[in-house]
């Protein structure tokens, strides 16, 4: 389930963020417990807890003492803002580099973007 070559907690965090972005997990919704995550992914619960702590630090989740972890109400919006910020560097720039490397004129790329945008 995981690429076992990268720290598991980062991957759990990425998955929860993806669920928040896609609204599979909604604001103020409770997320599964560390132990449920640990059992599901067959990982040490301390590793799962680290992923959750990272998400609390980033403001994606918040803790309710004695109850569990919940999605921050503004988590989706702040994740979207962060993704928008890195969109050009992480998505557009590599695409342009790839187009140049394989010889696709940028005009064709822009044409395609306009075509998709007008659908």
């Amino acid at each position: 389930m995981f690429d076992d070559r990268s720290p598991i907690y980062r991957q759990i965090a990425d998955r929860i963020k993806a669920d928040v972005l896609s609204e599979t997990l909604k604001g103020d919704e409770q997320v599964m417990s560390t132990n449920q995550y640990a059992a599901f992914y067959r990982i040490n619960p301390a590793t799962a807890a680290k992923a959750f702590q990272q998400l609390v630090d980033e403001g994606v989740l918040y803790k309710k003492r004695g109850i569990g972890m919940f999605v921050s109400p503004d988590a989706r919006e702040s994740l979207r803002a962060a993704r928008r910020e890195s969109f050009f560097a992480e998505v557009v720039d590599p695409m342009v580099a790839e187009a140049k490397a394989i010889g696709i004129p940028l005009g064709e790329v822009v044409g395609r973007i306009n075509e998709l945008g007008s659908r």
Binding site: R5, S6, R42, P45, A46
Partner: protein, 288 residues
């Protein structure tokens, strides 16, 4: 249970199996004990279980000595590989002795596990397959619920579905009843996600003792054209490298901060994680 080991030496006649081990293990964590064949893993676990007496040094479990100290050893369980229970009669007999020895034994849990691993109390141990004997060992280890439970390559002969069942039950029961667990295994990629901390020993000494995830984050594979890879890795601890034509991949040990990561990206280098098994191979001296 807490484990404190200081300057532990174990000799068998002329042979030094443990050569000055100092180790401190906390309560309620799962530890991975990794080492090559003959590195001293089994010797260390045998001393911790009170099966062998240390030649030198100090061994304390919850502050008390272990060897010939029943109040402590009744709360410690070491499950060795499949041959262990061969001479005992039936599964029933094996469970009887386990219950007799273990203060925290849970018979109902043992019965659930027998069913899960498709064993019955009437089976004769001698006629069981290696995998079934390993499963019996695992059942005794889990149902013993010992505050210090150690599995020394207890998976030998178990097929993949049985090993997965073992890991699932171990995790679930550990989360329900936290205890100190030490697992030694050569199936590193398979078991390492279960570990909170990893201890690597080599030639009777501790080489690494670290949080498992921290250890993983210390290893980085740097890949790209040979010259920039060499320039980037100069001055870093390089565990090993491989080359394919003009492309070189070097395994670096040590945390790379964001500045170094940006530097790598600017030089057109790819940074990737290293598997626990690869780190292990390189930290214990590569193939011999």
């Amino acid at each position: 249970m807490r484990v404190e080991v200081r300057d532990l030496v174990l000799r068998y006649g002329e042979t030094t199996a443990l050569d000055g081990i100092t180790l401190s293990l906390g309560e309620h964590k799962i530890y991975g004990l990794l080492g090559r064949n003959g590195s001293g893993k089994t010797s260390l676990l045998s001393v911790l279980a009170g099966f062998r007496r240390e030649s030198e040094g100090v061994v304390r479990v919850d502050g008390a000595p272990v060897f010939e100290h029943a109040p402590v050893t009744s709360r410690i369980s070491l499950i060795r590989d499949a041959g262990e229970t061969t001479d005992i009669g039936t599964v029933e007999d094996a469970l009887f002795f386990a219950e007799w020895l273990r203060r925290d034994w849970d018979g109902e849990f043992a019965d659930q596990l027998l069913e899960r691993f498709a064993l019955t109390r009437k089976m004769t141990v001698k006629t069981m397959s290696k995998g079934q004997r390993s499963a019996l060992g695992v059942i005794i280890g889990l149902a013993g619920r010992a505050p210090l439970t150690m599995f020394d390559e207890s998976y030998l002969g178990m097929d993949a579905p049985s090993r997965q069942a073992f890991y699932d039950v171990l995790l679930a029961d550990y989360m329900a009843r936290p205890r100190t667990i030490i697992m030694s295994s050569h199936l590193i990629e398979e078991v390492s996600p279960l570990f909170e901390q990893v201890v690597i020993i080599d030639a009777g000494r501790v080489v690494v003792h670290e949080e498992a995830q921290a250890l993983l984050s210390r290893g980085t594979a740097v890949t790209g054209a040979a010259a920039p890879v060499d320039a980037f890795t100069a001055g870093l601890t390089v565990l090993g490298s491989r080359q394919l034509g003009a492309t070189k991949s070097a395994m670096v040990y040590g945390v790379l901060d964001d500045a170094r990561r940006r530097e790598a990206a600017a030089a057109g280098l790819e940074l990737g994680p290293i598997a626990m098994q690869d780190l292990f191979v390189h930290l214990t001296g590569g193939p011999r």
